[in-house]
Symmetry: C2
Subunit: 270 residues, 2 copies
């Protein structure tokens, strides 16, 4: 239980303040934060609230969109990426998730992918000076066109290995990687380059093209086997439950947290 973290999006309809108080009430010691709710509450106040409730920051979501294609609007925003680095450090986090961005209309797929490595190289010195590590995360291949040209662990490791371990690492999310025939080989190769681990399940059928994620235990993914492989690779940090699902969002967040806590041992750790 001391490794359980809950991502802000899992309790989407709670404000930052409600989320931190809720996590503390359920005995959850880690938060996966998003920049928006933190900024809305005020970064300095957020840091104080977290401290007062004994909740630490497992990661911050997100910077990136290095290809310039972001389906949520806007392109590559270097200023926003630097602000995300500052915010991460200010609330006591040291892992900032990156989302690569989709295929740019004026670049082919290989060159869109090269733009990601270039964008990270540009952000690294800034992150390093703030003591923040950048987490390269492969998203599911179904998001390649719109959201992330980075789609496999192996490909992400090829990027991660261009940089110092102190500044850039790998993020593993069960939903994004469970299907990969090279999953276990890539996790073994990653070793201590893994700096973030998120879990959720793959619902059958998928209720929504991007919000089809379920609470661990509800879907097709053998999460405990992935947790063991991530552990065997050397990762011992927080395990973040991050769920995009309209049904979960429509449920009382206190009930969602109770379900997550009750199932964590069996459906995540195994």
């Amino acid at each position: 239980m001391e490794r359980l973290s809950v991502n802000q999006i899992t309790v989407k309809h709670w404000s930052f303040e409600e989320t931190v108080r809720g996590l503390a009430r359920h005995g959850i010691g880690w938060l996966g934060a998003w920049t928006g709710p933190v900024e809305e509450y005020g970064t300095r106040r957020a840091a104080a609230l977290l401290r007062d409730h004994g909740v630490k920051v497992s990661s911050v979501c997100r910077a990136g969109f290095f290809t310039g294609r972001n389906p949520d609007g806007g392109g590559l925003d270097r200023e926003a990426n630097r602000r995300a680095v500052e915010l991460t450090a200010a609330i006591g986090g040291d892992v900032l998730y990156l989302v690569s961005g989709g295929v740019r209309d004026d670049l082919d797929l290989p060159r869109s992918r090269e733009a990601v490595a270039e964008g990270i190289a540009e952000l690294v010195p800034y992150a390093a000076s703030a003591g923040v590590r950048l987490a390269v995360e492969p998203l599911h291949p179904m998001m390649c066109a719109e959201r992330s040209v980075t789609v496999t662990l192996g490909q992400s490791l090829d990027i991660v290995e261009r940089f110092e371990p102190a500044h850039v690492g790998l993020a593993v999310d069960t939903y994004n990687v469970w299907w990969d025939p090279a999953l276990h080989a890539s996790l073994a190769r990653a070793g201590d380059r893994i700096i973030g681990y998120q879990v959720c399940d793959w619902l059958v059928p998928q209720p929504h093209p991007t919000f089809g994620r379920g609470i661990p235990g509800e879907g097709a993914i053998d999460i405990p086997s992935i947790t063991r492989a991530v552990g065997a690779a050397g990762y011992t940090g927080p395990i973040e439950v991050e769920i995009f699902n309209e049904g979960v969002w429509a449920t009382d967040p206190d009930d969602v947290l109770a379900t997550v806590v009750a199932g964590f041992g069996r459906h995540v750790l195994g």
Copy 2:
């Protein structure tokens, strides 16, 4: 143009007879057939109709579901698989597409995958005696849970290479493989083991979780670059346009074929 084939599903609302007559009318010399419409029309009559219209069979869809999980109903049906082999030979085809099946509830993912290789091994002698080659096709990873535990070209080649080239080969569909960072390496590795090539585009955004395919030129895939790589690997056979899309199905099939023909040179061959 002599390489253009159209898959039956692209003109879903046409019967087998309407499809063969329609293809001939548009100067299209190849059909990707489905077992259902052929059986409905009668296999012997179908063979005669194809012959009379000078339309050849580029492939037949489909056999498989070796894991026992088929979202369209039923599990592994060995009898249906053998019937599909016979049908393929009877209408003059020599390539039968396989769909692996999804994750079986009582097997984990690695063992579900092993069940696929075992199922193919069981079908090979039967297909070989009928002169039909079995085409192993990776589907998109988003179909891993429900429809196909076989999801990458590399993984599919590992299966294909267990068997003789005369009996088992690889099928490449742009929609399923375009995102793969190992795409070009895997195509080069495949060489003359490629026995089927299907094209369609990836629409942005995807209008449907499984029917999100577009006519070549409408989406994010650089199809000509894949066609060139498939050709460089050694494949010189028909190129099948296979589109699952409710908008396309709601369009007059004659208009769909006219659009496919008009765009084939530019958006498929490049």
